[in-house]
Amino acid sequence: MSSETNQILTTDGIPLEISLRKAERKNKIKAFLLVVPLLLFLIITYIFPIAEMFTRSIDDKMITNMLPKTFKSMETWNGKDLPPEEVFVSFLEDFKILVDKKEHGKLAQRLNKEKNGFNTIVKKLFRQIKRNKIDESQSIKEQIMKVHKRWRNVEYWQAIKRTAPPYTSAKYLKAMDMYLNEDNKITQVSEDRRIHRILWLRTVEVAFFVTIFCFLMGYPIAHLLATLPMKYSNLLMICVLLPFWTSLLVRTASWMILLQQQGVVNDFFVMIGLVADDNRPEMMYNKVGTYVAMTQILLPFMVLPLYSVMKTISPSLMRAGKSLGGTPFVAFWKVYFPLTIPGIGAGCLLVFILAIGYYITPALVGGASGTLISNQIAYHMKTTLDWSFASAMGLMLLGGVLVIYWLYNKLVGVDNIKLG
């Protein structure tokens, strides 16, 4: 039988598949046009910034463009002894151009980040050039080495060479409290300077416990919401959603009022005699404050997915479980609980992801021991203006979330998520 006779034709003799595609094409175009605005919006506001962040976090082109000749002549240098004369010559040439462009300060700053001590010697070199103390007819190497003793130190030249590649992983290493040492080996910074790793761990810890607390508190509420008669459940739903309608800042500020040492909660504890008046516990500007405020703020994100899942579970299932001989606990554990897992998954994932990037609340009530990695990102964005470092940490956070998502998919399956 030939393939043509196998083909199903429409009454007009056109192959059915082609006819179907034609008929569907219009609908497909319409559907696509409907999503185009959102697609563009996503590309502009999401994909493009992330790509930009990524390039920024690994970008080291600035110095590469500042010292092109130097890096070229360094290619033949063995990197162990002091560089040969030609490296000094091309360095001076590059440096003079920078001086003309008034960019030598930037160079000093960048090199100083690579190795402490560059600031002084670059400025000293700059002054020598301004005073025309460098005589180009004599050995440039000797003259530069005379400017400061550090120019005679091979470690400084090695540091310059390390900045040659246009891309660097230094920011990522820095976020993990590590750096590339002189031998290009990944090394840990000295113990007293390790701050980022503590912050990462604390962020994960806070996000984890906030998720647990939200789950423990949200599950009964969601169950109540799903089983109460409409008239009460509506009221309760409003109570759950009320925080959503209040500004995040206001909510956080109200927690500050409640939790401070002279605050409402402490006053109450003193009143009922739980604590002594002169021994009021510190509940704010530490982890306790962060936990309390974040749990309250993120609770709706746990309750809503749980509620939407529980709403679909027929009450007769629990009854069936009981009538078949299961104690209320067994009926709950074997019948009800497994059916709520999609909601638990969605709620926990949502809360964890939101918590891991939380910023305002820890910034306001967290204090020193309650700040999280996002506060560090904000700090570098606004205060040190080290945007590439902030980008690197932001991307690491994003990577972490993606890993969690992947793990979740492996363990529970993303198809099981039910958000509503």
Binding site: S316, R319, K322, S323, L324, G325
Partner: protein
Amino acid sequence: MSKNTEFVKFDKVDKSYDGKLLVVKDLNLNISEGEFITMLGPSGSGKTTCLMMLAGFETPTNGEIYLDSNPISNIPPHKRGIGMVFQNYALFPHMTVYENLAFPLRVRKVQKDDIDKKVDKALSMVSLSGFESRMPAQLSGGQQQRVAVARALVFDPAVVLMDEPLGALDKNLRESMQYEIKHIHENIGVTVVYVTHDQGEALTMSNRIAVFNDGKVQQLSSPDKLYEEPVNSFVAEFIGENNTFGGEVTDISKDVCKVKLQNGEILANPISVNSKGEKTTVSIRPERALINPIDKMDNNQTGKIEEVIYHGDHTRVRLDLLGNKEFILKVPNSSNELDLKLGNEIKVGWNSQDARALDPK
């Protein structure tokens, strides 16, 4: 072995949800062991509430329920050992058919081998052997229903409750399931309390039917008695079809009374009327009134044909008779050709024995 006729006993049970309205009023009901009893009634009549009280999901506001002579009001549902089939089956959607059936056995700590045996037996009883590893969502409505029945029976409960179990099935499937449940009941002899609002279902399946209305049992008797001899006008109306005349008793003797209608007078069987002057509703089943009766009958009237509806095996004729424009007759299609034309006058007769004078509507 004599069977316990008070195996399940409702003793003066009242139930109210809001403290203002009684949903069940003074319910006294004895169910004997191995009986198939149906609670039949319109929605809101209290029948499901009774079932839920028996299952333990509702507590009686007053009175006591006895199971095998033990009061059970204080026993939680899971200790009552009563199987239940729910309206929407209530199969556990995350468990296979096998796990669904094994659930009641596992919570009773039955040995694995015994579980396998019992599940096998229960599944073959509902002819679903080989479906053990299916999920409920992969089954048709009828199959889910069978699994639900099997699950309610697998742990050998003394009583099985069924709450409108066939409500979600289509007509043909419903009928075949009725027979199937009836046969299962006959084979294993379990006591079944069945709730439905479908009178056909109740009539075909039950040993006895309790007709509920307004929180009360209106009549408790076997299906044939319920149909042939309804004790009040609600039952007569609710079960089967029914032609009614409202009137007043003008004369009464032991087994016949004279009822004066708006335009005319008929003889009837006094069921719930005792004296002259009482208001009454006379009920006559459509098949008891004959056209052009050959035998002598003590009620003979003439009516005008208002409508003729062909029903395949019979023809329904609507008459205007003694002022009742909704008087229905069922004429078998095998009978000799009658001249059933609209507007024709026609002679109709029935025995006063079949015209039951009941309480007024």
